[in-house]
């Protein structure tokens, strides 16, 4: 019985956290936010992604046969956790988790070539998965011959990517070049200005390749994405609590540190008491993805939904612990607030995820 991290996983976690603390301090995140506000269409910061590639983070989920490190989803969740903790703007969710999982499950020669390119970090692939679980604005992609038509909303990691992975319905998966004729990508700004989503308008877009009978590949991709996203939210929450505790020790009012007042102390205790069990659930969901696949869907639904609920409470409470200054741009806490506020709306909102969890157990109308 060992519910926890291996020595290698601890080392991975420490290495990445040290790297991010050193190379992506909050000033760098702020500069990236400012850069994107100036030049929104440039999208992904490739320089940071290249640095993560040096640490092997871009190929965490790429099999060793394709020059990746072939690690487990728990390892990928630790990476996501560290990135959320650092509010680091990277395409890890789409290009480091969802695309590699989809591609390695396909196991076609084209997919293997794509995996090799992903592992280097030089190639970045966005993913349009929203219509798998939520259709709005008449969105949806279809094939006419070998060309893609229709619209996809809230695509992840697409602005500035080289290619886009498009589920067509529930069982076909197409890869298209970002610069393909007939494809119009429109940036959709999110409350977290360090990242964005996009709309993909397809009018006869030629595919680089098309995989049929890709149903399980698409399902695994979405599942892995949800677990990694839950881990990212968890990491951001850890950081908000640490900042709140530090601020409460430092800030003095009525002649004493505000952290010595029970009103403030209890806010911090409630945050950590609600969060620590989420870590256990996220780790378990990640473990299930590889070891207990039958349990993984339910755990992923709950980890993402419950994590998002806890995160909203923590984001609010942490801001209140900081008082007025927590509400300013200068204090930086809002970068984490907006990270989890955006994450909450990606890959399924909490309420719909809970409906999904109920359906998985045949609870329902």
């Amino acid at each position: 019985m060992d519910f926890g991290l291996s020595e290698d996983q601890r080392l991975l976690d420490e290495t990445l956290r040290a790297f991010l603390a050193d190379r992506v301090p909050i000033d760098v995140v702020r500069a990236e936010r400012d850069r994107l506000l100036e030049a929104p269409e440039t999208g992904i910061d490739r320089a940071l992604w290249a640095r993560l590639a040096e640490l092997g983070m871009t190929g965490v989920l790429v099999p060793e046969e394709q020059d990746g490190s072939g690690l487990s989803l728990l390892d990928a969740a630790l990476v996501a956790q560290a990135l959320g903790h650092a509010v680091a703007p990277t395409p890890f969710l789409a290009s480091g988790v969802m695309a590699p999982v989809a591609l390695r499950t396909l196991a076609t020669p084209e997919a293997e070539g794509e995996l090799r390119a992903l592992a280097t970090g030089e190639r970045i692939v966005g993913v349009a998965a929203t219509e798998l679980f939520a259709v709005r604005e008449d969105a949806g992609l279809r094939l006419e011959g070998d060309r893609v038509h229709g619209k996809a909303m809230m695509a992840l990691g697409g602005v500035g990517a080289d290619a886009l992975l498009l589920p067509i319905g529930r069982d076909r998966l197409a890869l298209v070049a970002a610069e393909a004729p007939g494809l119009t990508q429109t940036r959709l700004a999110t409350v977290d200005a360090t990242r964005c989503t996009s709309e993909l308008l397809c009018e006869g877009v030629p595919v680089l390749w098309l995989a049929r009978e890709a149903g399980s590949s698409i399902e695994r991709m979405l599942l892995a994405g949800r677990i990694a996203l839950a881990a990212d939210t968890f990491g951001a929450c850890e950081a908000m609590i640490a900042r709140s505790v530090a601020y409460a020790a430092d800030r003095t009012q009525f002649g004493r540190p505000i952290g010595s007042f029970q009103a403030v102390k209890h806010m911090c205790a409630e945050m950590i008491a609600d969060l620590e069990p989420v870590r256990s659930l996220v780790w378990y969901a990640a473990h299930c993805f590889d070891a207990l696949p039958d349990e993984a869907p339910l755990m992923a639904h709950h980890a993402l939904a419950h994590g998002a609920e806890v995160a909203r409470e923590i984001a609010s409470t942490a801001t209140q612990v900081h008082g007025g200054v927590g509400w300013t741009d200068e204090q930086n806490l809002h970068f984490w607030f907006k990270r989890v506020a955006t994450n909450r709306h990606l890959l399924g909102s909490p309420t719909s995820l809970r409906e999904g969890a109920a359906a998985l157990q045949d609870f329902g109308a």
């Binding site: 102390k265 950590i272 008491a273 070891a291 109920a358």
Partner: protein
């Protein structure tokens, strides 16, 4: 991450299962005191109770092994019978005696306590000493080879069914608050000791025995002090540690009963589970329940590896007690109008169990260290936040 127990432990599980199939008694609730003791003795002989207690004190004498404990609990639970006895003697007094007791105290009390021949109650809280337990005023005055105890204890579960009490009393009148307390063993049938039942908000469906205990010059030999005079506070903290560990709940079982209730309970011909609103609440509770379930595995792993769990090790009581209360709240809500019924009213569901559960859960949120005290502990010990400044002495 490896959630398998391994072949050695699977074999142990088979042994426990075989033992239970061969020896499990029928309805223990109706068994005589002798029969219950005999069942506990049989468990001890096979090493399924008092497992790590040395044989010279009436135990089985095995090395401590948390996984063995977990497996025994799981299998007894599955068989629908209690492992050992859940009273406060085995869970709180015995670990304290093993750590601080004299050789004579250990030989005299541990065996009979584990065999259920001596039942204990805990005499800690007083009307004026709750969260601030160290301000307790029940005093024991030295008189020759004895102490004379006068004062009052409260929230004393099972006092009327106990032969003995382990109590905190003030023996050093002039010492500072924490340094004046001793840990004393008191026979409940002593002259001058009176047990009065204390009715709880849950009425007849609440805990079957909850009391106040009054002391009027109750005479107890000095040799009944555990540890040294004046060190009772330190010793009690060992005991309280055991209490917090034993307050974890079976949240998964409660959640399963709740889900079943929601399938069975209908309004206007529609089961509660078909209501998206109730279903959403059930799913929120399931996520919290699962979080606590895997959190317990994570904490177990820390214990097995002897790694300090940090702040994560301090949150279970707060989270589990609130979860338990919230599950009862949903159960009552899905019963709608019938959720109000109690005291064996016609149409009452589950014999009023969920109303009682709700009130009992509230008792656990307060008992064993209130939620607010838990939050102080989490913040100060877990997060290293500054302590409340002490008010200036008047």
């Amino acid at each position: 991450m490896d959630l398998e127990y391994g072949a050695e432990y699977d074999a142990f599980r088979e042994e426990v299962r075989a033992f239970l199939e061969a020896h499990k008694p029928g309805n223990l609730a109706e068994a005589s005191a002798e029969d219950r003791s005999a069942w506990l003795t049989k468990q001890i002989e096979h090493g399924y109770w008092a497992r790590t207690i040395p044989t010279e004190y009436g135990g089985y004498g095995a090395e401590p092994n948390l996984l063995h404990t977990i497996i025994m609990d799981e299998e007894f639970n599955r068989a629908g019978t209690l492992r050992g006895t859940p009273s406060q003697g085995p869970s709180m007094l015995v670990p304290t005696l093993l750590e601080h007791g004299t050789e004579e105290q250990k030989r005299r009390w541990i065996g009979p306590t584990m065999r259920g021949e001596v039942i204990w109650c805990q005499g800690y809280s007083e009307p004026g000493a709750g969260s601030d337990l160290a301000s307790l005023q029940t005093r024991a005055v030295a008189d020759g080879d004895d102490f004379l105890i006068s004062g009052q204890k409260i929230w004393t579960s099972t006092a009327d069914k106990s032969q003995m009490m382990f109590a905190l009393v003030r023996t050093e009148a002039d010492a500072p608050k924490h340094a004046g307390i001793s840990y004393l063993l008191v026979p409940v049938d002593s002259p001058g000791l009176e047990v009065r039942p204390l009715r709880t908000m849950a009425g007849d469906l609440g805990p079957s025995s909850f009391n106040q205990v009054f002391f009027d010059e109750v005479r107890v030999p000095r040799s009944n002090v555990v540890g040294r005079r004046g060190e009772g506070w330190k010793i009690a903290n060992t005991t309280l540690k055991h209490e917090r560990n034993s307050l974890s709940s079976n949240a998964e079982g409660t959640w399963m009963r709740l889900a079943k209730l929601m399938r069975d309970e209908t309004m206007n011909g529609v089961p509660a589970i078909a209501s998206p609103v109730y279903r959403d609440r059930l799913m929120q509770l399931q996520a919290r329940m699962l979080s606590m379930k895997y959190h317990a595995l994570r904490m177990l792993t820390c214990a097995l590896k002897e790694e300090p769990p940090g702040v994560a090790g301090l949150v279970a009581k707060l989270e589990n007690c609130q979860l338990s209360f919230d599950m009862a709240a949903l159960a009552l809500d899905v019963m709608g109008e019938l959720g109000a019924l109690y005291d064996h009213a016609k149409y009452e569901r589950a014999r009023g169990h969920w109303q009682a559960h709700s009130m009992f859960a509230l008792g656990l949120i307060i008992g064993g260290g209130t939620a607010q005290i838990q939050k102080n502990i989490i913040a100060e010990r877990g997060l290293g936040m500054p302590r409340e400044p002490k008010p200036a002495k008047a």
